[in-house]
Symmetry: C2
Subunit: 257 residues, 2 copies
Amino acid sequence: MQPTDAQLPSRRLAHQLREAITSGELPPGAKLPSERVLAAEHGVARNTAREAIRLLAEEGLVTASHGRGVFVREKRRLLRFGSERYSRTTRESTGLSPYRAEVARQGRTARVECTSITRTVPPVDVAERLGVDPESESVVRRENWYYADDEPVQVGITYIPWEIAGGSVLATSAQMGKGSLYARFEELGHAITTVREEVTARMPTPEETRGLAVPDGVPVLDVLHTGIDQDGRAFEVTRFVMRADLNGLDYRMPVEQ
Amino acid sequence: MQPTDAQLPSRRLAHQLREAITSGELPPGAKLPSERVLAAEHGVARNTAREAIRLLAEEGLVTASHGRGVFVREKRRLLRFGSERYSRTTRESTGLSPYRAEVARQGRTARVECTSITRTVPPVDVAERLGVDPESESVVRRENWYYADDEPVQVGITYIPWEIAGGSVLATSAQMGKGSLYARFEELGHAITTVREEVTARMPTPEETRGLAVPDGVPVLDVLHTGIDQDGRAFEVTRFVMRADLNGLDYRMPVEQ
DNA sequence: TAGTGGTCTAGACCACCAT
DNA sequence: TGGTGGTCTAGACCACTAT
């Protein structure tokens, strides 16, 4: 398995370091030799050693820490989110929101912050899925930040048609109370019966990199979630942006014949 | 919305270019000024202009093409894969595999190449899901490459317990015939009834970057798919690795009450 | 052949961190 | 304070693409 351009000094050095990491010689958490030491030992300029490290960081194998050194990235345990997290049984047995239930299950501490609730114009993809006017202030927008052990792991922007949310706690209160969001929807006549989740991945924007403290070489999962009620009506759309090194999705579905 | 470190020359230049791209002044496909021109115009060294471009490439906004220039990345249409692609109805109405059906639907040309069929030791996560011995040569491994208009878009490695595949076409033939893989499983007594898909994202390995021709700043979706039959038995596990700029997943599921 | 990106050098100074 | 990564400079040569 030859790496690309084995004859280039930066690639050769990256290759050697990669081997040391994947073989376990440099285990997760280990500190790499400093850029200056690598350069001297391999007879290259410091910038060349730096380029080698950049390649590894881009692959997600190492992370650099200013003033401390470069370290082999630790394997982080994934928070797994499955479709069963929306079930009423889960909701009622724990009294927790889907997110809190999963984090608690892993013995970690969950925190959710609702940072804003506004009435606004929906993005086109959201308007399409909700079947609302994409040009009027027809939705309530709720922005939620999700933390595990005080580390930010996800952001979720929920859009609810004004027709549904207007006048209810959904449009006014950050606190959702027992059973959380979906219990309130059910009281309003919308029981979540079907979920649709459209998943893709991409590199984070500069804002997301900052807000979620995404390390170099880590993408985000971009999940467009739609909640559909017993009448087939889409009553809520949420765009989740999740650090891909800390989150995974776990879907289990019947196959229609 | 301040970018990080607005006072650094490379970040300032990256910021200006980013604005030009997101505002539409530099539309998808547009060519950026050359590194040397950017450097001269902004009074910085060429390496600094280069660093600005690297930042944008890392975000997935531009791609550099050796000898040609740096271009604003075109928005690519996503191939969308939903769970309904496994249904017998879809299979029988089109006679196509799930992949071919989706690509055809978009008016593109599908090609699937089965590059190897071997009997081997399964990876631990696969063995776990199949309930087979992780230390013996207990599975058939099939490697498939998926193309759309001759561009590689996915790889799938399918593992099937030897107990199920042994002696059948699944263990010997690259061609699956009408109705594809799942029709053959059904003939062997395993009708796909439930699918489980565990999804995460990461940066591609050097091999994947080469094999899938993944551009800079594009992650891959890593999907561990399990096919489960009418008796609740896992009869097949496939690890899909998909270019995230060309593929999306679209799940629609009932919520158990 | 001219222009582009890709790599490399050998320095310099700054910012951060541990001691 | 000394060692670390982060950024920048001003060159050089190579590899690729278009003309």
